[in-house]
Every structure is written in C-alpha cells, then in structure tokens.
Symmetry: C2
Subunit: 324 residues, 2 copies
C-alpha cells in the first residue's frame, strides 16, 4: 500500500506497509532516523580491514560500551566478530571521500585515506571528529546482522562538525531555525543576537535561505518529485551515468541512488541505455523542463517582491562576502 | 588528560582519555556521533508510558528488527523490557516540544502532545516523520543499559525532515555544502543549478551563510569558547536562569547544559547565586563584552569589503523575502 494522501494532522503519508511486503520502502522509513557516519576498522594478520557504518550507538557509560551491526553476509564478519578489538572513527563533514572509499569492499582502501594506528594496531582515520578504541565484548546474532558490542578503552574528541546520513543523502547539521528566528526577529537592540552565537546578519541569511528553500520545495512537490529524484534528473541532464557516478554527483549512497532510479524508471522518467547507463526518456526531458520552469517561476516571484536592481546588488554583496 | 593542542593533521584534540577517568568527557565524545530523535512508547495497564530516545538503530531487514537501549535504572524499564510491544515515532524538525515533554519523566505527558493508538494500543505521535509498530523480540542486558530489540510489524513514512541531536544540541539537517558550492560556482548557464534541487540564489544564500558562520567561529575559538558556552553566556546576559530555562532557550538538553555550566563555573565565568540560579560573574561580563566586540569586529570587517549602502540594501531584500 503506497499512498500519498494527507492524514488528519496535515502531514503526508508517503508509504505505509508491513516490512516483508516492501523491504525497500521499509529501508526508506528507517532512513528517516538521521545518523552520523563512522568507519569501523580492525587489524588482521592479512592487514587492516574497514567499513563505513551508520548503525553505531552509545550503549552504556559504566562500563563504557558502544554497539554497531554488521551483515551476516559481509566478507568482514569473521574479522570483526571473531577479532579481539576494533576502532571507530566518527567522520567529519568534510570526509565524504573517506565514507565513499569504505562504503564498499575494494582494494587499497587504506592507501587512499590517511590514518594512524591505535594501541591495538587498528587504523584510526585522520581528520575524524572522534576516535574510540575498543575490545570486542560480545557478538550477538540478530536477524540478518550481528550486533557487535565493544568496550571503550580510550576515546579522543576532536574539533569539527559531523557528517550526517539522512533520507539516503549525506548532509550537514546546522543550528535549529527556532534559534535563528528568535535572532532575526530583532530582539536585541545592539545589532548582535542575544540568543544565538552569531551576528544578526548571518542569522538573517540562514533564516531567509531556509524559508526560500521550503517554498521551493512546494514547487517540487507539485511535480510529484522528491529531492533525490530531482537531483538525479538534474545530473542526467548533463550526461547518461551509472549509479556510482550519480551517487558521487548527488552525495548519496549507491543503494539510495538505485532505489531512486527504480522509482524514476517506474514513472517512465529514466531508462537504461544499451551501454548500461541511465538516461532521461522523452518524458524525463519534459520533467526536466518542468523543473526548470518551476525554478524560473520561483525567480520571477522573487522579482515581483523585490526591485531587480536591489536583488542584483544583493547577489553581488553575497558573492563579495563569499569570495573574501 | 584534557588538551587543546593541534595534532599532526591540523584538527584539534579537545579531549583524550580513558572513559572511567572522565565519564563526562566520554559522553561528549559519544555526542560527536549525530542522531535523530525518537519517542518510544508502550501501553501498560496503568496507562501509556513514553520516553525520548536517541539510541535507536536499524538492525536487520529480514527479519525486520530495530534496537534501542534503556537505562537499567529507568522507571520505565519494566514496562518496556517485560512488555510485549512498543512503538517508535521518529521526530520531525519542528517537534522539539515533544522531545522536551518526553525527555524526562513527568505527569500528563500524553495530554500535552497529540497522538493516536497503534494496533497494539501503543501511542504513535502525530506529526512524526516515521512510525514503527513493534513487538519485543529480546531484552539484552548490556552494562548499565538493556538493549531492546523489536520486530517491526508495520511502518509508516511521512513527509518531513528530521530533528537532530548532535554535540549536545538540537539541530536540523541541510544539504551538504559540497553540493551548494558546485551550484554557487555557476556551472550552469541558465541561472538554475544543475546539481542541486534549488535555484541558484538559494544556494548562494546557503554558501554565504555557511562561510560567514565558519569565519565567525574563528573569533569565538580565539576566546576559548565553544558554541554551547557562547550560547549560555548570551542567555545569562538577559537574566539569571536555571538549567531547564537555559536548555529551553539554547535548544540543548538539560544534561548538556549542566556540563556547559560546570565548564563555565570552572573557568570563573558563571556562578550559582543565592536563589540557585546561574548568573555571570565579573569575568563572565568581561567575556560577554569580548563576544560583543568580536561580533562588532566581524560586522566591521564585512563593511570593509562591502559598501554600507549595499549591505543595507541586502538586509532589506532579505527581510522582504523572509516576510513575504
């Protein structure tokens, strides 16, 4: 049962089902819970192994325990579930590359990303925002995964902000708009926000961006497209691509791209060509044109509100500040 | 061992230790892993119980299993660990209130927040972005917590964006700046971004805001303050407050506020007054003045780059768009 109807409270039901009836939709529902991204590593007699993991969780403070889970079919299962120790690196927002390298099994992963050895010999990724050095406490079979519970012997917290994985996409975290709105309402008389950690002008930029972004989302909704679909259509406008290329361009995980392509195929917007690359169909090109028209309509509406000359001044001021 | 020195790779080590030597610092390190926020509920003969939980994790797709953990000392342990079913609501970015209501045990929680009953009778919070209806598969003692594993019988995914909990604060997720930067560099000739889902002007606002925000962060770093400390100082400038008031004003969790106050007390910036409220000390007022001077210096630097008249035009354009 896939619906797109308004429920009693004004939020839209996108999908509703029993997991076994639609495993992909179940995975999308699980993706509503945002997470950070970690790379978990361990040293083995055959050399270090590592994988990107977003099922990390804090379990216990005393004793200090953390958990994560690994597929029973993973080729790394034995190394982790029968190993004695592992290390966790929590990735910073500028480490999408590390996440891609460790996102799927491949040769030479540890020659591409800088790292140092933990006391147990497990790789700790440089530039991460936290390191946890653990011994394996327990490997607990749970469905098609094992939950691994580690005891933390040493931790390091670094400066920096986290990389996020949310709704199939890599994202970053920003201050909650409830704070920014308080600031933009001008509660302070000295031109400096009392309730945020930033000058008023920065809060004003943030509030305006979030507001316009939401408004543009409504145009996209009218076309029956979600953010991921829009992003894939825009990338396919540039050239036919395979899922890995689209994942890199859209900062999405390959499995999320494959889901999106499957949906776009079903809608008749994309198809696989003879070379095995995805491309826009005739209907796909029409959809792309409609997206462009929406963006133009959005710009036109802004110009109705604001003098074109003032909007141009604003553009120039922002570009000057951005390139300062 | 608490340090604040640059490591070999240019990121700052904030804290490094064994967990038992500094449990609070360990909790802060765990807080580097960002999460969504859920409210987990169950129906009992004495009525429904619920609590805010951010240890939720997807475990298995087939069979469909999820996990979360609960303190052994929680008064809700028996209801959940010996119950037969529970429900998980993944909170949307505008549900900070629901999170606060279920963040600590209190009477009347279910009369403050709208909800509906699951098939098992467990409350599902309205306006959430996902619901999972589960039966308890296993309750697994792990240190000072139990890990509860649930089998998902039904899921619903709603439209909307997630509330985040990261580094002690409630936040929201936005598009990764790597995407926005591609757009702002103007790779598209038609004025509409090819690689994001938004018009170029919105991407430009986002890039500028993120860039200025980072720059201002450097001023704050020079004062030896983090975002949370700055926010608490700014709130105490308005009036002496208790931790719950500060948590509400700063959109932080009470435990994170208490950590921050403890650090500020140690630095001589805040102290508890005779009424049990926290207030700025003489040194605290000096620090507040230094923060204001930083913000003023930041504004001055912007005015060196941009004609004051153009900056004022920009402010007016942004306010017009924001209030449209």
């Amino acid at each position: 049962m896939t619906t797109n109807s308004k429920d009693m409270n004004g939020s839209f039901i996108e999908e509703q089902n029993a997991p076994q009836n639609d495993p992909r939709a179940f995975r999308r529902a699980l993706g509503q819970f945002a997470t950070g991204v970690t790379v978990v590593t361990t040293d083995t007699p055959q050399g270090p192994v590592g994988m990107a993991v977003n099922s990390f969780a804090a379990v216990s403070l005393d004793p200090p325990l953390v958990s994560w889970s690994i597929r029973n079919e993973s080729k790394n299962l034995k190394a982790f579930a029968e190993g004695e120790h592992f290390a966790v690196s929590v990735l910073a927002d500028d480490q999408v590359d590390a996440c891609s390298v460790f996102g799927r099994p491949q040769e030479g992963q540890f020659s591409e990303i800088p790292w140092t050895k933990s006391a147990h010999g497990d790789p700790l990724l440089d530039q991460a925002i936290a390191h946890f050095e653990c011994t394996l406490e327990e490997a607990h079979l749970s469905g098609d995964h094992h939950i691994l519970i580690g005891r933390v012997h040493s931790f390091t917290r670094f400066s920096g902000d986290p990389l996020l994985f949310s709704q199939g996409q890599y994202k970053v975290a920003v201050e909650h708009p409830q704070l920014a709105n308080t600031a933009a309402s001008g509660s302070s008389s000295n031109g400096v926000s009392n309730t945020t950690d930033e000058p008023l002008f920065v809060s004003l930029l943030k509030s305006t961006e979030q507001y316009l972004s939401e408004q543009f989302g409504e145009y996209r909704d009218e076309l029956g497209l979600d953010v991921a679909e829009t992003r894939v259509i825009n990338l396919l406008d540039l050239s036919p691509s395979n899922p890995a290329q689209l994942a890199a361009g859209a900062l999405m995980r390959v499995d999320a791209i494959e889901d999106t392509l499957s949906d776009l195929d079903a809608k008749g917007i994309t198809s696989k060509n003879a070379s095995g690359l995805y491309e826009l169909t005739a209907k796909g090109w029409q959809t792309r044109a409609a997206l462009l028209a929406s963006a133009t309509g959005f710009n036109d509406r802004m110009l109705e509100l604001v003098d074109p000359k003032d909007l141009e001044t604003t553009r120039q001021v922002l570009m000057t500040l951005l390139t300062s």
